[in-house]
């Protein structure tokens, strides 16, 4: 059976899961309402989005220059910068950096999913835990994240209780509230945070002028992953680069707004390792935070996509997931409509970028062509036109 038929079959199974359908439907109507409220309350976000669109275009027009600039700036901030051509290269670099260290924590990152990081680290015998609660549930379930920012958007409370019971052996009662479950998972992860040796995060933006990594979140897990362990590794797609720190701030404001989470509880900025000069006026690395910070810039198809007149437009995606919320197909099947990792309108295109046009073009056939996704995108990516382009590649 071919890929498209597999996806259609998976989506039929997903469709017939009442829990998934109920959870998605509730989450989607809430998200849409939040999005329209956000536009009403923070009218300036649209202007910021326009600026982000322009800065992203600027970076993509001289991507090699900006990669070099990030590497220089990151080194100047006493970090170690790497460039990975493929997902496999990135895994090798990460293995080398980690060495014998065993206890590893991950923040939520689609780019880490893209290179299959968690499974790889488990396979080589590491003790790896996701720390974002949604992503932790995905780890327990063994599936893939179902939305760009809300990995378990498809699960009901009931399904989550079952999962936590069976996979973590916790004695969760059926009537426990989301607050109760969050409390239990917090306790479960606390000990892992304290003992962790390595924290691995993604990035929402990387500024070329200072080599700063911007990360937004609401849970507070990213703060801990990036500050408690003595070693912090950042994995960022090269499209995450923006020229300046100010551009990065604008980008994370836009991203969180369109993800329906504005203002985000936390905006983290990491520029190199933790340091102090307080003891004898000598600079010492590793005060309270990590002593060592690595940045891996990942290509994995992005540079090639940047040469394709259609696909290059997708590289300014800020991964807010709003196009998924807007898409009638995604509304019912979530990321089962997609490739190994990415799904929905943006995900079909990201699949073409990271897994190849042939695969992307096969998946693209399930697009309705209704163009609703085009209205959802903060940086005006012509999603429906790109997907149509992929459709034209199907028979080739």
């Amino acid at each position: 059976m071919d890929l498209l038929e597999n996806i259609i079959n998976d989506s039929i199974r997903f469709l017939s899961n009442r829990g998934y359908q109920e959870a998605l439907s509730n989450a989607i109507s809430n998200s849409e309402a939040r999005f329209f409220n956000m536009l009403k309350r923070h009218g300036n976000i649209k202007e910021l989005a326009k600026e982000v669109e322009e800065t992203k275009k600027e970076v993509l027009s001289s991507i090699d220059y900006y990669i070099d600039k990030v590497v220089d700036s990151f080194k100047a901030a006493n970090g170690v910068a790497h460039y990975a051509e493929s997902g496999k290269d990135a895994l090798e670099i990460i293995d080398k950096i980690i060495g014998d260290r065993k206890r590893i924590l991950l923040s939520k990152s689609m780019t880490c999913e893209e290179i299959g990081l968690r499974k790889h680290l488990q396979q080589i015998g590491k003790d790896v835990w996701e720390t974002d609660l949604g992503q932790l549930l995905i780890q327990l379930e063994g599936g893939k994240p179902m939305h760009a920012t809300a990995p378990v958007i498809h699960m009901t409370l009931e399904q989550i209780i079952k999962l936590v019971r069976s996979k973590l052996g916790m004695d969760v009662r059926e009537d426990e509230s989301p607050q109760d479950i969050a409390g239990r998972l917090r306790v479960f992860l606390r000990e892992k945070f304290i003992k962790s040796e390595v924290g691995i995060s993604g990035a929402n933006a990387v500024s070329a002028d200072t080599g700063s990594v911007f990360l937004i979140e609401n849970e507070g897990n990213i703060r801990l992953v990036t500050s408690l362990p003595p070693l912090h590794i950042v994995l960022a797609g090269i499209e995450k680069i923006v020229p300046t720190m100010m551009d990065a701030l604008k980008l994370v404001m836009v991203q969180s707004s369109y993800a329906g989470l504005f203002p985000p509880s936390y905006i983290n900025v990491v520029s190199g390792p933790s340091a102090t000069g307080d003891i004898g006026h000598r600079k010492v690395y590793g005060a309270h935070g990590p002593r060592e910070v690595h940045l891996i810039l990942l290509n994995n198809g992005r540079k090639e996509a940047n040469k394709n007149v259609f696909l290059r437009e997708e590289l300014r995606c800020v991964r807010c997931g709003n196009c998924q919320i807007f898409c009638p197909v995604w509304n019912h099947v979530a990321n089962t409509w997609g490739g190994k990792v990415y799904g929905g309108p943006m995900g079909v295109i990201w699949t073409a970028i990271t897994e190849g046009i042939e695969i992307g073009s096969e998946i693209s056939q399930l697009c309705l062509g209704c163009k609703r996704c085009d209205l959802a995108c903060p940086v005006e990516i012509p999603l429906s036109s790109i997907i149509h382009y992929l459709k034209t590649q199907f028979r080739k």
Partner: protein
Amino acid sequence: MKVKEIMRFMADMTLRTGFPVPVPRGFSYKWAESYGFNRKGEVMLYTGALYQLVPYIESLSAFLKSIERSDIGAFLALRTASHLPAGLLAGLLPEPDKKLVDFSNKTLKSIADLLIKNGVEFSYLYEDDIYSGVLLYDMGLVEEFGEHAKKVYSRLKGRGVKKVITVDPHTYSILAKTYPKFIDGFSLEVTSYMELIKKVTKKVTLNSLTIHDSCIYARELNIIDVPRKLLESAGYSIVEPRRNREYTFCCGGPVEMLSPSLASAIADDRMKELSEKSKNIVTMCPICFINFYRIKHRYKGVEIHDVSSLI
């Protein structure tokens, strides 16, 4: 591979017969037999046969569903069958739903009557009223589409046409926005019949309506207020559904061939939202109509109306 087989079948059919599915001779202009329109002229009604095709697409889709449960051999048989004469082929498929055939004939007559009563002078293509090819373009079969589009264009030009009146969003959009990219020196003005209606001819027969904007009209052609103004001038009060105007939500129709259950789930979403506002739902596209028509029995008392039947 099944999907590729279906696509190839539709492309072959279109290039060979002018229509993407097997249809009986003369099916596209049967509705117009009693009118005696001029066959040449600068202003031409071009239906692109989308309304007329709906009952036959429905038959093909039912046929495909039945062979989907069997095996790929049936698809290969389908492919061989595509070389049979069209009339013979049409006989292989289940009889189209009579109610759907009536619906499309009635709709096209309403539209023609509206234009006539509004003093719009136009001609009609009759046997040259073939499919626009929009489905081929939407599936990404751009080469076949381009070849077919040239055929349609030359038939229109051969009749001295300068302005085309369309009756559905897909034909309008493909002609106005896509044909120019495939045809050198494209010079046709394209409009919707709705844009030419100044006075409505029917009286209010229903209490309230809810309106289902077509994705293409709303997001590609900015035809949002036109149907509302027509309905309001006929005296209807319109209740807007949760997702309306440019944010309108697809009926699910375009994935019917690939995944009927997904198409039906999407149609259900939209039907729920629409029927919460009114039992009378207005559509302006035959694909939307059929997709709601198919699940209508699950919604007690709900009726689907093509906008032309109310104005």
